[in-house]
Symmetry: C2
């Protein structure tokens, strides 16, 4: 007798071990484990949001999004607008829609080890298989070319990159970008690059794959750059409109259109004033980073020197899960590096995009713990 059962692919959505970590922490724990910058919306955007509510008609937009916003996004990338953008409910939706549009059951998708957690799950939910290549912990997490070449089979359909990297906080260099594009083009592999951290650069903005490759799909959002996570605005863009057209179709059936109140605000975020407002966020992040790396350095704690906020990948003494569990009980939540892939073993990821008093308190606990306890 058949029963109402979930779809078979749902078995790939595992219970989050990180959730358990968070649940075991005291209620007043400081959470350095989030994927969110804990700063308020810039004042300029607050004011603009109030104006939008009073003066704009906030109905449905076209599925792909407000044309002014799509054009503004093309302007941001300095590329020509030709229906090559789909505005989505955050970068997550852009990623889901892109993968849904291109991935068949049985395909293989390349992801880095380590990388952002969600990629693997979405790929598997779509009945495809993940094949991972190494960012080498012995070599400051540089791309291991050999491991990439080995990971490719005739079933490899796409690659998902996070650049700058969550959890590493570093971006690929020009050589690595060129190599990836070359290898993927020769093997007809669709490159999807999640660039949500690109605007949180420390010294200089990393190269966008959009500037380099016609066949890449770029995913980005305003969640990190403008502290607009709760507004759910992201996008998929490519130089080629034909790569985006199927994503627009999928997006239509996923959620009709991205929230239009947020689309109007996104237009302000990408204006000259909006981009200036974003700089305040970068400055605050740079201050927090300075505190964190100075303190950790003085305490002789090793970490990967990041080029993009807000993540520091910090070396720990012993098993990273056990360290994270112990820290959690002491009131500081961090994410074990191996949650992002086996190459993250021996590290924890911290997000310094929180109020500075909380940051200093938690970094002091972290350093003290590292000094005194070996797990």
């Amino acid at each position: 007798m058949k029963e109402i059962r979930v779809a078979d692919h749902m078995k790939f959505v595992k219970k989050s071990a990180i959730r358990q970590l968070v649940d075991s922490a005291p209620a007043d724990a400081i959470n350095l484990g989030l994927g969110e910058i804990q700063f308020p919306l810039p004042e300029f955007l607050k004011q603009k949001a109030a104006e939008i509510i009073n003066f704009k008609n906030i109905g449905y937009s076209t599925n792909a999004g407000l044309i002014e916003l799509r054009k503004a996004i093309c302007d941001y990338y300095q590329c020509e607008f030709n229906d090559n953008v789909c505005i989505t409910a955050g970068a997550e939706e852009a990623l889901f829609a892109a993968l849904f549009s291109y991935i068949n059951k049985g395909d293989e998708v390349l992801i880095a080890n380590p990388t952002f957690l969600a990629y693997k799950t979405i790929v598997e939910m779509l009945g495809a298989k993940v094949s991972s290549f190494s960012l080498d912990p012995q070599n400051e997490f540089a791309l291991n070319e050999n491991s990439l070449r080995i990971a490719i089979t005739d079933k490899t359909k796409a690659m998902i990159l996070c650049n700058p990297s969550n959890p590493l906080g570093i971006a690929l260099n020009d050589h690595e970008i060129d190599l990836i594009i070359d290898i993927c083009r020769k093997n007809k592999i669709l490159i999807i690059v999640d660039e949500v951290y690109r605007e949180l650069f420390l010294d200089e903005r990393s190269r966008s794959f959009l500037d380099t490759d016609l066949d890449t799909i770029i995913i980005s959002s305003l969640s990190k750059s403008h502290c607009m996570s709760g507004w759910r605005i992201g996008w998929a863009i490519s130089q080629k409109s034909e790569l985006i057209a199927p994503i627009i179709k999928t997006h239509q059936y996923i959620c009709t259109c991205a929230p239009v109140i947020s689309q109007f605000l996104a237009l302000e975020a990408l204006s000259i004033e909006g981009m200036q407002a974003k700089e305040e966020i970068r400055i605050k992040l740079a201050e927090n980073r300075k505190f964190a790396i100075d303190y950790l350095s003085n305490a002789n704690i090793e970490f990967l020197l990041n080029s993009s906020s807000p993540y520091l990948f910090v070396k720990v003494n012993g098993d990273d899960w056990k360290v994270a569990e112990a820290l959690s009980k002491m009131g500081v939540i961090v994410i074990p590096g191996s949650a992002f892939g086996s190459n993250g073993k021996g590290f924890v990821r911290i997000n310094y995009g929180i109020e500075s008093d909380k940051l200093s308190k938690s970094i002091i606990i972290l350093a003290k713990f590292q000094k005194e306890i070996i797990l």
Copy 2:
């Protein structure tokens, strides 16, 4: 040599014939074809939105949504809160997430003929097959029990209902609801009911399937009831939390969480004042409807007497696609009934939820056309 091709299931997303209809209309055409109420956001909600922007921290919410909002939705249904709600980016996302969570390739899904267009496409995008049952045009679109029984096979996994119906504007009666639940329960068919038009009732609110059946998943939103389409707030709810748990997981990977600015506003929409503000919309719709049905009746034009706004299913002389095309060129956009399924043949769907001057102008054109031209 393999190429970068879209996923096989994308072939089921057809080009919209309705889009061509809209494109062929003059720029100043009056659009009675939309699925949106063209009224502004109620003043009360505008004020509350401004307050939210000033005083709330609009970051990510938990995947399932703000707990206060999930509780408020349970209060609305007068059911107990037990993690049995998932807040989504509109009803569309709730529907997509629900189907993604339950439907395997090869499954069959029951839909009504006629019904809302998107159901078929989503089912087919997921590799499943649609099997349709009749709402009988010879019998005021009542449920044809026999056709429902015939449509069921051992592969039938779910049924998607729209109640009150888009495009019909009528709700199932108690007998039909009981019959559907009985048949589906006996055949272990998951019932998913889209109730987005329920709050736009004319005389009395139709029964929610939630009140009747423990095993049904209800989908709804504030897009129609509160003119909040551009805010993208919908939900999936069931009496049983275990039916919603997989939807929350899928939703997490689709878009992390529903827009949080909109979640805060939804909380206001469901407050006593918010529900009063919604009444203004119902009253305006009832006025528009009175004009439309009086005018059509006086012109001896037949239509299905609706019990819910904003759709009137109007009988036309001749082929409904040709009528819609001709009307479109005359500056009035309507949707041919057969776009919703073969049983809609000979009708057009009009949405009277627009400004009254536009409505009167377009109804006059429609009536004149019907009187003078037979296609």
